[in-house]
């Protein structure tokens, strides 16, 4: 499975085997862009919180449950179609019910591939993965506009937690392994804009920055603690809670600096330790799907 196109802005530094990035390298993966008008954002937020519609749980393999989206721009105008793909985007019927949001998105002047509203509920995760692996090599960028969030909602990549606070556009380079979580809630709401390059985007993204206060560098985890986590997960699985066991290990990605894919390796190890070879093989295969075979 091929990875998405690397941004044309600069050649990427190779990630360390421990997936811990320098601050400069991290800022190339996730950064604040331009500040936004708070009044307008407030109106957008109000519409997103009040426009009734049926949220869709897409990308089931990538998430824990609790991640719901609706499309505002896609290829057929049906808000419930949330599987992103390349192409010319049109407004959905849902966006036509949200005049402030519609005006806001039009005024950004971007060339959209897809635009979604995304709700990440409490105790919900987008597990470690790479994006765009199934798409063509056409250049694209992903922008996040946080509307409602909390201190336990963040993106993890390269051994760092980044909290996307409201009031700015944020850029995420999603071809590197990353995950998103909302550990404790309340629910997090973002606009997610996938867009192709154009002049408006170049102006928007002209000065990416990442403040120290945006980032929490995760500490590594000693081998003893890793062993203890796997042992506890094994006990959970033996007690009859295999899903809980899996999740307790996958969650480590969000609390500690781990090498790419390590959380999946720990799940494999857990199943091997309790003699479940089939489940271990399933998770080896799942890691390939989530991380694009690297």
């Amino acid at each position: 499975m091929s990875a998405g196109t690397i941004s044309r802005h600069e050649e990427e530094e190779p990630l360390s085997t421990l997936a811990t990035l320098s601050p400069v390298a991290l800022a190339r993966q996730i950064a604040r862009l331009t500040p936004l008008d708070t009044d307008m954002l407030g109106r957008v937020c109000h519409e997103v919180l009040t426009v009734p519609s049926r949220w869709v749980a897409g990308y089931g393999e990538y998430q824990s449950g609790g991640w719901w989206t609706l499309s505002l721009y896609n290829h057929n105008g049906d808000a419930a179609d949330v599987t992103i793909r390349d192409g010319v985007a049109v407004e959905t019927a849902l966006l036509r019910l949200m005049p402030a949001t519609r005006a806001f998105l039009r005024d950004l002047g971007l060339t959209y591939m897809w635009v979604r509203i995304a709700k990440l509920c409490a105790n919900s995760f987008l597990w470690e993965h790479r994006d765009y692996a199934e798409l063509s090599d056409r250049e694209r960028s992903r922008l996040h506009i946080p509307l409602v969030t909390n201190s336990s909602a963040f993106v993890v990549t390269g051994g760092a937690r980044v909290h996307l606070s409201p009031g700015h556009v944020w850029q995420l380079l999603p071809t590197h392994p990353h995950g998103a979580c909302n550990l404790l809630g309340p629910a997090r709401l973002h606009l997610i804009l996938d867009c192709y390059p154009n002049k408006a985007f170049e102006e928007l993204a002209g000065r990416p920055a990442l403040a120290e206060s945006d980032v929490t560098w995760l500490s590594g985890i000693p081998q003893d603690d890793i062993d203890a986590s796997v042992e506890k997960a094994s006990r959970l699985a033996r007690l009859g809670y295999p899903r809980t066991a899996e999740r307790s290990l996958l969650r480590l990605f969000f609390n500690r600096a781990l090498p790419d894919g390590c959380a999946y390796d720990l799940v494999v190890r857990m199943y091997e330790s309790i003699g479940c070879a089939d489940q271990a093989a399933e998770w080896t295969a799942k890691k390939e799907v989530m991380l694009g075979g690297r």
Partner: protein, 302 residues
């Protein structure tokens, strides 16, 4: 004669806690080692309201009892959206096991879930002893009586659950749990219960400060507190705040409770900053849910 429309209205207006009861039972009984699940309290007595907590009692095979206790926090965090570690329940009626109180997110709100776990060998007569209602039971192959070594190991674990001195983190969790209980009492107008739980909060904060700043004290209760703590500016600050905490009347309004909780967390932050730091995200979430309950949205557009 029943009316279909009225039955539908009853279903529409049923308390959310019953949905949680069903979902939680499904999760718990997925383990083949869970032999009994009971429900206690207001849900059984017919006095439940929208503020009611969920009171579970679970019987677990004696062989797996200790393991089950060891993984309970992870189970609650992962499957029940617990925002904090469990508080070892010191006020629950003793039934031969260990009780914990968890604060969980359910339907966008904070909910209290009391979870009492006991060995299956002691679980069969719970309804007679407590009035609990059986919601699930599982027949296991008839076993001989519990081996003495196993019984001793289970009893040691239960005794440890009763007698081990709570850690600083556990004391902070205790304060947060009790404060949520007091909020419920205030909303229901249960003055005496609020009074009792306020006293427990004050004692928990006192114990937290003593554990942090006078861990080798030989004095019990409130004896010689000023002398032991007041030897440094740090200790004096704690004594001042503690004095203000105990001098205030029990909160009768939620605003008074908020002020009391702020003071408790301030004291905890002075005496045990590592504990409050460890729980920082949980405390943020706790406050966020309370504010949402009051109609505010946390960290929206500034």
């Amino acid at each position: 004669m029943g009316y279909a429309a009225i039955s539908e209205l009853i279903t529409t207006n049923h308390l959310a806690v019953f949905e949680l009861l069903e979902q939680a039972t499904d999760v718990i009984v997925a383990s083949p080692h869970v032999t009994h699940v009971y429900v206690r309290g207001s849900l059984v007595h017919g006095t439940a309201d929208r503020l009611s907590d969920l009171d579970f009692v679970a019987g677990v095979t004696d062989e797996q009892f200790c393991d089950f206790c060891d993984v309970l926090d992870v189970l609650m965090e992962t499957e029940f959206n617990a925002i904090l570690p469990g508080w070892r329940d010191s006020i629950v009626f003793p039934m031969g096991g260990i009780g914990y109180v968890y604060l969980i997110e359910s339907g966008g709100k904070l909910q209290q879930l009391d979870f009492y776990v006991l060995p299956a060998s002691r679980a069969a007569d719970i309804p007679i002893r407590t009035g609990a209602r059986l919601v699930f039971s599982r027949e296991l192959p008839a076993a001989a009586s519990v081996a003495p070594e196993l019984e001793a190991s289970v009893e040691r674990r239960i005794a440890d659950g009763r007698t081990r001195k709570p850690s600083l983190v556990e004391r902070v969790v205790e304060v947060l749990v009790l404060a949520l209980m007091i909020r419920k009492r205030i909303r229901r107008g249960q003055f005496f219960l609020a009074y009792g739980e306020t006293h427990m909060v004050r004692t928990a904060v006192k114990e937290l400060v003593k554990t942090a700043l006078a861990p080798y004290s030989i004095y019990r209760g409130w004896y010689r507190l000023e002398e032991e703590l007041g030897v440094t500016p740090l200790g004096q600050a704690c004594v001042r705040d503690l004095r203000a905490l105990v001098a205030a009347p029990p909160p009768e309004r939620e605003a008074d409770l908020d002020a009391m909780l702020d003071r408790c967390l301030r004291i905890a932050n002075i005496a045990a900053p590592a504990a409050t730091e460890e729980l920082a995200l949980g405390i943020d979430a706790y406050r966020a849910y309370l504010e949402m309950g009051a109609g505010a949205t946390m960290e929206a557009i500034p």
